[in-house]
Amino acid sequence: MSEQSNPIRDAIAQAIGDNRVILFMKGTPDQPMCGFSARTSAALQALDTPFAAVDILPDPRIRQELSAISGWPTIPQLFVEGELVGGADIVAEMYETGELAQALGVAAPADAPVEAPAGADPAPAPLGIENRLSS
């Protein structure tokens, strides 16, 4: 595939560049579709930090192109200032050591849990929420 005709990859690269903190996840922070994505967005929310979130589920090419850019095979993926910080395990570990707050340039709120928060239970498979086959 030629580089000049890859609008999805370009859009992802631009989103990573435009947003200081951006999380690619399955589902949304309010309705995560996977436990790993739920945990990672919950860690960011516990630090009270604003972040952009991209749901990769609507189009399989988003995940494909994202992994091609980042060299990281799994979802979620957190980027801060254009750099891949890591996936769910790394973010949870950094949350617990305080490195995540440091990387984000925020102070952890006094009431933030010491252990990485578990996050909301992931929603069941999105059957019935949206039938993507019908359109």
Partner: protein, 73 residues
């Protein structure tokens, strides 16, 4: 289908001398802990990549999830 033993042996083969523990409740979701001095001086992202790269396309396919903790001795 993958097994914890198979994953452990593959990691041990790819990172000689590593101490590897792999657990799985269902042979599709795995938790691994890898201790190796190969990780010395690498960022966490680079450490995890080293392990992810062992499995290539199998990650996300037959290996649905690999929860990873990497450490130096």
């Amino acid at each position: 289908m993958a097994t914890s033993t198979e994953l452990r042996e593959q990691i041990e083969a790819a990172i000689p001398g590593a101490t590897v523990e792999v657990e799985s409740p269902d042979d599709v979701h795995f938790t691994a802990r890898v201790v190796s001095d190969r990780f010395d001086g690498l960022s966490r992202v680079q450490q995890h990549r080293l392990v992810y790269d062992i499995f290539g396309d199998r990650l996300g396919a037959e290996i649905h999830a690999l929860s990873l903790k990497t450490e130096t001795p």
